[in-house]
Symmetry: C2
Subunit: 211 residues, 2 copies
């Protein structure tokens, strides 16, 4: 690898981090190249596909932030608190960083490293869930597959209200969390998603193109 090529990769990586964070993983590749100060041909020749660029850049970003979420959760007083703080913090990440939002909701499929990072974090969520179940604080019919319902709801709410009422996803989430306490439970109208359904829903490639 020649030095100039190496330098370009670094410039592209840095620009990608910035733009992904500002605008989400679907931002125009041309802009990334422009901000990096190279032609977009270079970007294609270095990374080939958007997915490859994402997978080269975002996992680190995600890992750092998701680690912070775990830390935040650990400060919880009891099992419920930890569960709630975990969900809140992930939601906060989703609402503050479009890149994280797209990562966690699995907007792009061919990003194995990124997926691994996110899966790992979800595993932690599952532990908090289990602990809260065992403590009898989280309603028993909440399953690991329900996380996606929480996160996609928050993602939508924060997108809708970001411009006018930035924090209000917290309000929506608080309503839902109150419904997740064991004491609030009423029978649910439909069963949980199967793990496969949840995985598919996660890999649902946004840009709805209801076409």
């Amino acid at each position: 690898m020649r030095k100039d090529a190496q330098r370009n990769i670094e410039k592209l990586t840095a620009a990608a981090v910035e733009l992904f964070t500002e605008r989400g993983l679907d931002c125009p590749l041309d802009e990334i190249a422009r901000r990096a100060g190279v032609s977009h041909g270079t970007l294609y020749s270095r990374f080939g596909t958007r997915e490859a660029l994402i997978d080269a850049v975002v996992p680190q970003l995600a890992e750092d932030q998701l680690a912070a979420a775990i830390q935040h959760a650990e400060a919880g007083a009891d099992a419920w608190d930890q569960f709630a703080r975990y969900v809140e913090k992930i939601s906060e990440l989703i609402s503050c960083d479009p890149a994280l939002s797209d990562a966690i909701t699995r907007r792009y499929a061919d990003t194995p490293r990124l997926s691994a990072v996110c899966d790992e974090s979800l595993d932690r969520g599952r532990e908090y869930m289990k602990a809260a179940h065992d403590a009898g604080l989280l309603r028993a019919d909440f399953t690991a597959e329900d996380f996606i319902l929480l996160f996609s709801a928050t993602a939508a709410t924060s997108r809708t209200t970001a411009a006018t009422a930035p924090g209000s996803w917290r309000r929506g989430l608080a309503f839902t969390l109150d419904g997740l306490r064991a004491t609030a439970a009423h029978p649910l109208p439909v069963g949980p998603l199967s793990p496969e359904q949840a995985a598919d829903a996660m890999h649902y490639n946004a840009n709805p193109s209801r076409t």
Copy 2:
């Protein structure tokens, strides 16, 4: 107005109803023209803008369906039930009909007739809310402006899971509704949206274009 022009308007209207319902209010105008069997130039000369077409076509659609929601709500046994059934039915409309989803979440702004229809339905929602408040069944800190949080969450969930687990928005909503009962209430982290914020959030023109 010449007869052929009249006929074309009818063909366009019919095609628009179909495509809006299938794909949402943002479907390509060219396709509507194609399905109507006219050139897209005709569509532009008859309606001028997408908003004008929407406002000519969707209010009727919305009115019918929203009326059904009211009817569905009325069947509830008590004030809570009516409130819940109202929210559920609106959510169902959102999840089954992309046109309704875009209408209710106010995806396009310059559609006065459509807005009026939606506002009217929201007013009914407010009445159910009030009754449920008065009966002490709905948590006191839920405000009219919180409806948007509910609906945008459902819209997102049903978009995410429509392909794999069509009914699961009901599950997410059920969690939240359980959190809206007076008995489930815990203090909220942030205050309600102001009416202005809610209005802005509603008029938030989707197609996020986080640009």
